[in-house]
Symmetry: D2
Subunit: 380 residues, 4 copies
């Protein structure tokens, strides 16, 4: 208990507010770290709701104005869990106030905003990170280790998909709690910023930067009731997006995301084919990694299904014993652990705002290509 | 925060001490309950170690003598996470002191001990439960709902296995931290009490009582260094155990457990074949349930792999969104939630000591049959 | 044995020569048909080799000049198993001679050739078919039945891949027996004509015509020894090809093929996502079909793995009993059976040359798009 | 065509008559052997049916009395595809006539009959084999090679199951075409002789002889209409059978078979756990072998799914190319190929009658144990 406190001010109390709060509460029991998160304040416009949230999660106080939260001296770090369209404003203010920032993904509405945000945190020299949590699935981190070890050799192919099916009904409204993701004004884009951003972040982390893309998007349901206006309004987001890409390392890629793939709840998958070995992963069975190694004895070659739950696997010596899996929420705990470790060692954990800007730039190129129907280079 | 506190006194700080503590800490954020666990005291013989444990997990105080813990007025409930050979003594004392008891499985060293413990808690009228946590894997609870709904019709077959491979090396010692499970003096038996007990508890819960068994056991490594004596000692536990069984409902069963099944970490599986439908489950992918329904349209019949992560599935509306899995530790959280709910409603959650005695009796019959090489009826 | 003979003249004795011959030999034992194939003559330039082939497979005679074969009165049908670059010449001659034609896929080197071939067979009014054998995998035929039944509703997505890894080594030569597929002069293209053509044929059959595409291709190994010239020569084929597509029915698609996907031997997969249901299939487990139906009872929804081996499944009542799978070669037997049935009933089995021309046109658009880096409409 | 003919006389025209005939017809095209099967005569009591069968499969002549068939000089080998209760009589007569014998499994009604049959073929010195075809699934043969190579080390566990669900309906009659397997008079036993015999044959082949067993059997449907008597008759067969076993090599085993496992068509599975490695296989995906090797690099350990379709795999260089699977019927072709090879080399392919007697003895011990409810040693 002599550990250094890191006082958290949380903005937002939705799905991500819960996921982050759980991580802050759980990290110190499982990871031995110099810093210890303290849930100092939760902030949201609705005083009653934020009070209830704070009670449940053990936040010591509440605010209804995020500017007041940022102004508080007893807050070290701001966690931004708002819709995308206010990320920039909050982050710029927090940076100006010298606060550490943990921002939910995607970083911004677009690359232009993202650049401003990167400039802000770098000018203020505040530690910063974006919650691309899937990097910290143990199997995904293990994939990163395998790739960095050189075991794959030259990479030929990368393919990623993020398939869902929850918006097929035309009766589903846009806007409002949980549904702001269908409202282009709040979300900026549809599956591209929400789902493909995850795929792109992982891809850049594992396979390097993307050079150019050719994309197509579609909005299958053209209009939906809007919960704010009460009227049926045109739908501005992309329901589905697929794109071809070429990486800097010469490999070819296909990416696809949709909320119209019947039967898939949150099927984020990726596969990498290298000269010597291949890797595949799937969020629906996130504790497994598929591995094929051509250097195995000829007739015994086959895809291995690795149950990534051994003490030797990333993060897993902190949890239970081999065979006993962890889940989705632990990816956030790992991110907090790494972030706190980075604070202590001075080697910042990624993805920083700058790292996340690369993903934003790819998203922008994807949306531009879908519009222009041209191959589009990714801005650098 | 106006919720009623339930003051926990934890005995033991090993693997199960951590798993239970995590559940107590996490339950109130995810479940809306009348009672709220408070981590009042942790108890173990080693003062330094229990202090460190208490610091990590937020226990307010420590004890080094479990009798003192039980004597404390500020403790409502005793959680017993010791080796099996002291369960009885602690539970009898706790019952006599009027404490609520949450006892790690298996209930006892044998049925005789178990009967005494049941008598103790029932005489004292204290709420009691045994940590057969796998009942609360959402997919397993869902299996229970499906069976209770009558969808399977007459049951013909039950089969369960719990396969591990961690004791194959003859260099592994018996006794000591984490290895008391290999010491028959501390554990009472090997895989029968440790692993088959889980399979039997689930089986009885899902398919009713077991009438009789024919078993075989084997100790593959006959002697191992003992960490307490420092000498090579005969191994008294069963390394492997398999048995045939007949249930009261007329179905046939095979059960098997071993710690010598190379390639399996904690592969607890069961399958039930009914007249109309079948169910299968596997701890290595605990968030899935396999379901076959003969009433499906003929050519479309096939085993369904159900990703048990929807809001409609047991417990899952408390956690994240469809497709995002939870893990092993959540089974304990669910057990705490149900236990607290039972305290509030007066309808006790199972398995109570009495329920767990049935499992103990089957274990006894199994070990007796392995010794006598005879079909053996289960005591009632 | 009173059945009508259909006298076959086979050109070529390679892999496909064997596959087709086996089908002709096996079909009459399993299918009750009016026509019975008779292996009348095999033809190839190498007299010794074709003699050996004829001996093995039971062809009654041999020829070394395909023009002589076509000229023979005792031959009813010509089976074309040569490299792609001579399909046109042979087929035009065979049509002119009034022969039935069964041509290996792809139909032609390009759409222009294909159009001429369609004109030839239609002018001559000779029955004709192209060996896109994967339509007759029972699981794929079953998928077609499901789609035609309307069970999927509106289709949103189609995705197909054909992944191999056999050309990764740069030491592999181009040209020569079995390796003419790497020689652009003999093959016309690489994976596009060899592998994607299969994917496209199935896709059009299942989901209707493709409107436009955006493609990329890559040749990873730029030069290889050529077995004919004995020199290292530039590689002219596409090693990998991926494309985005829009179907006439409004659905979006991704297609990909490569011979550089380490770990995959012949992984042809497709998936279709409809409003109500989805289907997936995989050549590596060709006897299974994956099926998801949103109309299933909510919490019991899951992907079904249908073992397509029941008597109710397409073709399967001709073979063994439920659970016993057939394999690759049977797709050819099914095609022969359907073709013979079509001869008897006058309702020709597909894909006819005209059907196969659609696939050729998509391949042409794909290769053109890869070159121009533009979205490209498919010729009609 | 200069190959030595082996003139086959087939008795029976049911499921197995077809499977064997197909193998005889196909073997010479795919395997280069000194002998070539010639379908000389088919024999069955019903003259019309056997004529139709002979026409379809190309048998040159027919007989309606198996004694006449055996007496024919132009017949080299007798293939016995009758119900089990006439195996002995036919085989003894065929041996006495100096005929080669290929007998469908199980060898006999019981060990006593089997002993007499072994004596008969050994006295007559006629080549003989029993159709335990699953040994020749390439993946199973590969398993045998892996075990014989010593890669597994000491074996701890063997488990096998053969699960079906086709007799659950009580309306299904016993006796008659295809249903003689439900009639104890014709079959001798139920799942024990029909299905477990396969499991036992493979087990002995892979893991050596079985020392003793403890079994239970059950007849779930106690009476069924009999197609011969036209009356409802008691059912004499075992619907389900499970047994524990100890092998000579010290390993423990569980075996189970049933026709009441809803959802399983012909799910024959086995798994072997050795000190260093484990193997698993499943008839529903017969072209795959699961392999776990503890000697793999620690964090990369996982079960490999080997697609047993490479040229290096047993038998597979005779068929197609990697990734393209074969099916059930090919196991018979492989058995014919090996048998013919054995004739040529003088090293007989197994399982011979003597080999198959071991399986018969285990079946007898199983049925005896189920009756006596005692552990029962296997006769030697």
């Amino acid at each position: 208990m002599a550990k250094k406190p890191l006082n958290i001010g949380m903005i937002g109390y939705g799905f991500m507010g819960r996921a982050h709060s759980n991580a802050y509460r759980q990290v110190s029991q499982f990871f031995d770290l110099e810093y210890r998160p303290v849930l100092r304040a939760a902030c949201a416009r609705d005083a009653n709701k934020v009070k209830a949230f704070a009670d449940t999660w053990g936040y010591e106080s509440t605010e209804t104005d995020w500017r007041k939260l940022i102004a508080r001296k007893d807050i070290d770090a701001i966690d931004v869990c708002t819709p995308n369209n206010v990320h920039r404003e909050i982050c710029e203010a927090a940076a100006a106030a010298g606060k550490i920032i943990l921002c939910e993904k995607p970083l911004a509405m677009n690359g232009e905003e993202g650049r401003a945000m990167v400039a802000a945190v770098e000018a203020a020299k505040v530690p910063n990170i974006v919650w691309y949590n899937y990097r910290r699935v143990p199997a995904v981190t293990f994939a990163k280790q395998l790739i960095d070890s050189g075991k794959l050799g030259r990479v030929f192919h990368y393919r990623a998909k993020f398939l869902q099916d929850w918006t097929i009904s035309p009766d589903l409204p846009q806007g409002g709690a949980g549904l702001w993701r269908l409202d282009v004004g709040a979300a900026g884009s549809g599956v591209t910023g929400d789902l493909l951003a995850h795929c792109i972040d992982t891809a850049i982390w594992l396979n390097g930067r993307i050079d150019s893309v050719s994309a197509m998007t579609e909005t299958f349901v053209k209009q939906r009731p809007h919960t704010l206006t009460g009227k049926v309004e045109p739908v501005g987001i992309d329901d589905a997006c697929a794109f071809l890409a070429r990486f800097d390392n010469g490999s070819l890629a296909t990416f696809e995301s949709t909320r119209y793939a019947r039967g898939h709840k949150a099927l984020y998958t990726f596969e990498i084919n290298g000269e010597h070995a291949s890797i595949a992963w799937d969020l629906h069975d996130l504790h497994r990694l598929s591995w094929f190694d051509h250097r195995d004895e000829g007739p015994l070659r086959g895809w291995r299904s690795i149950h990534v739950t051994d003490g030797e696997h990333p993060y897993m010596n902190k949890w239970w014993v081999p065979g006993l899996q962890i889940g989705y929420e632990h990816t956030f705990t790992h991110q907090v652990a790494d972030f706190l470790e980075g604070l202590a060692t001075g080697k910042p954990a990624g993805p920083t705002f700058r790292d996340a800007l690369d993903t934003q730039d790819v998203c922008d190129a994807v949306l531009a290509s879908a519009k222009s129907q041209q191959w589009t280079p990714v801005a650098r």
